[in-house]
């Protein structure tokens, strides 16, 4: 990892680039710095803190925030007194670890790389654009970034929301949407895609702080097109946050308030006053976009974002250079994380021949053997977590109390147990004190156990000889006003952990080999992309398609909004798939049965029809679910009853044909037909773009066609906004409707009539168009059966659920299973392709590694004690216990790689033959006994 660096130049060719970097001096030796923070306390110079959007003061020598990576301080040369004026240097003697080094010079470094991934993020909207909203003129007008820092509990005001003008708590707040986006005044015609959602989030957070505050969000369209994002809007409305569809002209100071002037749809000009105004500023292209373009030769689009094509969303115009994140177009965190994985897949294709070369594997010291005869020597480390724990819990008392317990031979406190220097201290202490069990009282084992286990391994201890106590999340944070009770609770929890720790045994590490093959379910664009991306990385896959040909929904699409022809892309893609020696395509096929676990699945695929019907069995290491979705056909708006009512997909097919009158003179389009509260309770993300795409096609064929679009929110997010504008310029009329006033379609004979309330003219309208087109939404295909077979959870709307929205966006909770495409959520084709590439990247990880490491806390059966009753087998929810014959007797056996360590088997085994590593009966019973305070303080004071 190289931080504090500038990318100067790129030379060479794909597979063999030289990247020239300038590494700016940090003036602090990163290896020596312990991040203690003493230097900052002594540094006499102040300057505003850019990390907190200038809302707080920091010093030239500082760290941006507690969790910064690397956890090393640095000196800002622009304000350091020594660097600027050759004076001061107070920090040098203050630093106990002699980490400060003013002799550091900028370093030019050449990096040999095969591929380049561009992820410079996004830039900020220029302050001039915000001036008309009195930003910079009145202190109570803030940007959403500033407001985010203000509401953050770890921010400069500890989450207290105050007006800067006079320190009062605002009672009335306004959020103004589309500031610097969808704004031709500042040449940003695009939609920034994320601002509606973050404004709603910030409004909800504000309401949590102060339920009485009155919040109004002024918007043009609420673009919460992400999966389940509409639910957040509904929640916001339910708790009284007001949404006003209006364009705000300006904000002016008015006594100690701010006056908003805005115009509503019906052409009225209105005024309203608020205490505080938050500007939902958009995402600009990164500041150095042009510089990156010059350095690398990549093309930019007309908004200076990286130019990419619909079918190659992560590929720049230059070979060997890929892109991920907001530089590719404004986007949120889950999608950025997904693109990052996809970009990694593309890069690893380029680097395929070099895979595994030049890597260094970490060496651990030999593990100390520990037997039952060894004296139990427990070390207890109590973490202050800065002041997170110690400001409430009396840490010295907790540590000393633990020292009185039996088996505890050492105890201490640490400022941050997780910091690099503390880790070293723990390692050294393990050696010096000959510890053979370690208890750390700090935060959650869910986040920090792996880190400390690594420390144990470094010190030559088996990583399971460790127990963690959560005295932060479960004590200091939740009993902040009861320090004594929190301290008592911490002591109890530490006592229980120490008791348990005395019984912990080392557990052997287990690895299981991986079958280097993937099973890809679904032969649409997602599945094909996965199979090809894996093939290009050198891995085989079986591509299972339920219909007779691969292609999926692409077969029905004709063109994209960007103007690409789908048919030629599909032809190329299917040809590549069919030609690939690494892809085994099975059509008319379905997954009949699957067994096994990550690395070692075995599946039966049924394929063919009638006489041809057959079953094939495949061994594979991973499963990628790309089963797709299809257009929903609601029994609404006369669809299927009148020939004059069609869906957008049907219209697209007709428009691509040659029939006369395929683009008639009068068309009404109804958005969200059957969606967002009718049959389907969600937004399908693609329908607005689909409508615009068809509209532009109609206008091409018949420029005189009168088109009226009835919509709730036009969600042409990102660069699609340009096409929306184009449609409006071509005379298409867009009229919003409210959910309680949906348009009504009736048919009589061949006529079809649409009645709706025109919110612009404020009158009821009735018309008989030549054609009514419905934007109908997308439903997933057969997720219910697959969900049972693969034990995959789904959302309330039947889409497969990823393990974590931001951290693991394409992985299922079940190990070795990955999700992409419409089966995950409705999305346009470019997002599907990027997600499929991401799924391929993640699925390739176990395939590349070749082995799966099993967490040793899994169950194990003591076969001597097993009576073969089979209760465990029947109860195991993961199919991880099998019955086998041993000397003609039925015995249970755990398949470690399938086991999730739930322990149901152990708690039901009538003969206690099953033991859970790390959670044995003995350990848990002694933990419970310690709860009762019995086994405490048995140690005789020396």
């Amino acid at each position: 990892m190289v931080t504090n660096a500038d990318f100067l130049a790129l030379e060479g060719n794909p597979g063999n680039f030289t990247a020239k970097l300038n590494i700016r001096p940090r003036y602090i030796d990163a290896d020596a710095c312990t991040a203690c923070g003493l230097c900052t306390q002594y540094c006499p110079k102040h300057h505003s803190d850019p990390y907190n959007e200038g809302l707080s003061i920091t010093r030239p020598i500082h760290i941006d925030y507690a969790q910064a990576v690397p956890a090393t301080y640095y000196i800002d040369p622009s304000t350091c007194m020594y660097i600027q004026h050759d004076t001061c240097q107070i920090c040098v003697p203050v630093c106990q670890s002699h980490a400060i080094n003013f002799n550091q010079k900028p370093e030019l470094r050449d990096l040999k790389v095969g591929a380049v991934i561009l992820s410079p993020g996004f830039g900020k909207i220029a302050p001039e654009v915000l001036e008309k909203f009195s930003y910079g003129k009145h202190p109570d007008v803030v940007t959403a970034y500033e407001y985010e820092r203000m509401t953050t509990s770890s921010g400069p005001f500890l989450g207290e929301i105050k007006c800067f003008s006079d320190g009062r708590h605002p009672k009335s707040m306004a959020f103004i949407q589309c500031v610097g986006s969808r704004d031709l005044g500042c040449d940003n015609g695009y939609c920034s895609s994320v601002c509606c959602m973050y404004a709603i989030k910030e409004a909800l957070v504000t309401k949590e702080h102060d339920p009485e505050v009155d919040i109004t969000i002024y918007y043009m369209d609420i673009r919460t097109q992400g999966r389940d994002f509409d639910a957040a809007r509904e929640r916001a409305e339910a708790i009284g946050i007001k949404f006003v569809r209006a364009k705000v002209a300006d904000v002016t100071p008015w006594e100690n308030h701010l006056k908003l002037t805005y115009s509503t749809l019906d052409g009225q000009h209105k005024f309203d006053s608020h205490d505080m105004v938050v500007l939902s500023v958009g995402l600009e292209s990164p500041k150095d976009a042009k510089g990156i373009s010059n350095t690398t030769g990549i093309e930019l689009n007309n908004y200076d974002f990286c130019k990419t094509e619909t079918f190659t969303p992560l590929q720049t115009s230059e070979k060997g250079i890929v892109v991920a994140g907001a530089f590719q177009g404004p986007k949120d965190i889950p999608e950025s994380a997904t693109q990052a994985s996809g970009a990694a897949a593309l890069a690893s294709i380029i680097l395929k021949t070099q895979r595994g070369k030049g890597t260094e594997s970490k060496e651990y010291p030999d593990e100390l053997s520990i037997t039952d005869d060894d004296e139990v020597r427990i070390g207890v480390f109590v973490c202050h977590c800065g002041i997170n724990i110690s400001s409430v819990v009396d840490c010295p008392d907790v540590a000393e109390d633990s020292g009185k317990m039996k088996n505890v031979t050492y105890f201490t406190e640490q400022l941050y147990s997780c910091s690099q220097d503390s880790q070293e201290q723990i390692k050294q202490t393990i050696k010096d004190q000959k510890l053979n069990r370690v208890v750390i009282a700090a935060c959650s084992p869910r986040t920090h156990e792996p880190l400390f286990q690594e420390t144990l391994k470094d010190a030559g201890l088996n990583r399971n000889l460790f127990e963690m106590v959560n005295i932060r999340d479960h004590c200091s944070w939740v009993h902040a006003n009861e320090p004594e009770a929190a301290t008592d609770k911490s002591k109890d929890l530490v006592r229980m952990a120490v008791s348990k720790a005395a019984h912990i045994q080392p557990l052997p590490e287990q690895t299981v080999p991986v079958t280097p093959k993937a099973l890809v379910l679904g032969g649409g664009v997602a599945g094909m992309t996965v199979a090809l991306t894996l093939a290009e990385q050198g891995f085989e896959s079986v591509l299972v398609e339920k219909s007779s040909t691969i292609g999926g929904n692409l077969k029905k699409l004709k063109n994209t909004l960007a103007g690409d022809t789908v048919a030629s892309y599909l032809k190329t893609l299917t040809a590549k798939v069919n030609k690939s020696a690494k892809i085994d395509v099975v059509t008319d096929a379905a997954l009949a049965q699957t067994a096994g676990f990550i690395g070692n699945f075995n599946s039966i695929i049924e394929s063919g029809k009638g006489q041809e019907k057959k079953e094939q069995t495949f061994d594979h290491g991973v499963i990628v679910v790309a089963t797709g979705g299809h257009e929903h056909r609601p029994d609404l708006y006369e669809l299927g009853k009148s020939k004059k009512v069609v869906t957008q997909q049907e219209l697209e097919t007709n428009l691509a044909g040659r029939a006369k009158g395929r683009a008639p003179n009068s068309i009404v389009m109804i958005q969200c037909a059957g969606s967002r509260g009718e049959d389907l309770n969600y937004c399908s993300k693609v329908c607005c773009n689909h409508a615009i795409k068809n509209i532009l096609k109609i206008k091409e064929i018949n420029p005189d066609s009168q088109i009226i679009v009835l919509y709730r929110d036009m969600r042409t997010y990102g660069f699609a906004e340009d096409s929306y504008l184009e449609a409006r310029k071509k005379g298409v009329i867009f009229i919003p409707y409210e959910v309680d006033r949906r348009p009504v379609v009736t048919s009589q004979g061949t006529n079809v009539q649409v009645d709706f309330f025109d919110s612009i003219m404020q009158e009821e309208v009735s018309m008989t168009p030549d054609l009514v087109t419905l934007s109908v939404g997308i439903v997933p295909d057969g997720t219910a059966e697959l969900s049972k077979m693969l034990k995959l959870p789904t959302t309330a709307n039947g889409f497969f659920l990823e393990a974590h929205v931001k951290l693991r966006p394409v992985e299922a909770a079940v190990g070795g299973v990955y999700i992409c495409g419409l089966a995950h959520a409705p999305k346009p084709v470019e997002e599907t392709i990027a997600q499929a590439q991401a799924a391929a990247a993640k699925a390739a990880i176990p395939l590349v590694k070749g082995v799966v490491t099993v967490d040793p806390i899994v169950s194990s059966v003591e076969q001597d004690n097993c009576i073969g009753c089979g209760i465990c087998t029947s109860l195991c929810p993961y199919g991880a216990i099998i019955m086998e014959k041993v000397d003609k007797k039925r015995k249970a056996r755990t398949i470690s790689a399938s086991c999730k360590a739930c322990g149901i088997c152990a708690s039901r085994c009538p003969t206690f033959a099953i033991s859970m590593g790390g959670f044995t009966n003995e350990q848990l019973i002694s933990q419970i006994e310690a709860f009762g305070n019995k086994v405490v303080y048995e140690k005789v004071e020396a």
Partner: protein, 68 residues
């Protein structure tokens, strides 16, 4: 708290994946709750042997909480 008010001692078994995670989240959100609970983390409440519950009562718990 006055002397005569009942302050129960509660022993909780928390599933690592849901209830323990929820307790973490309660901390991150700074929700405040009474400090009467002492917890035992398990990888699933399926691990909770009925004998653990009885043992808890035997050790003086006024109530046993299982979250999973």
């Amino acid at each position: 708290m006055s002397d005569n008010s009942f302050s129960p001692k509660i022993l909780g078994f928390l599933c690592n994946w849901c209830c323990y995670a929820a307790a973490d989240a309660a901390g991150v959100s700074r929700f405040q709750y009474p400090p009467n609970l002492r917890t035992v983390r398990v990888m699933c409440t399926g691990r909770v042997d009925p004998s653990f519950v009885l043992k808890g009562f035997l050790e003086g718990a006024d109530a046993i909480f299982t979250g999973g």
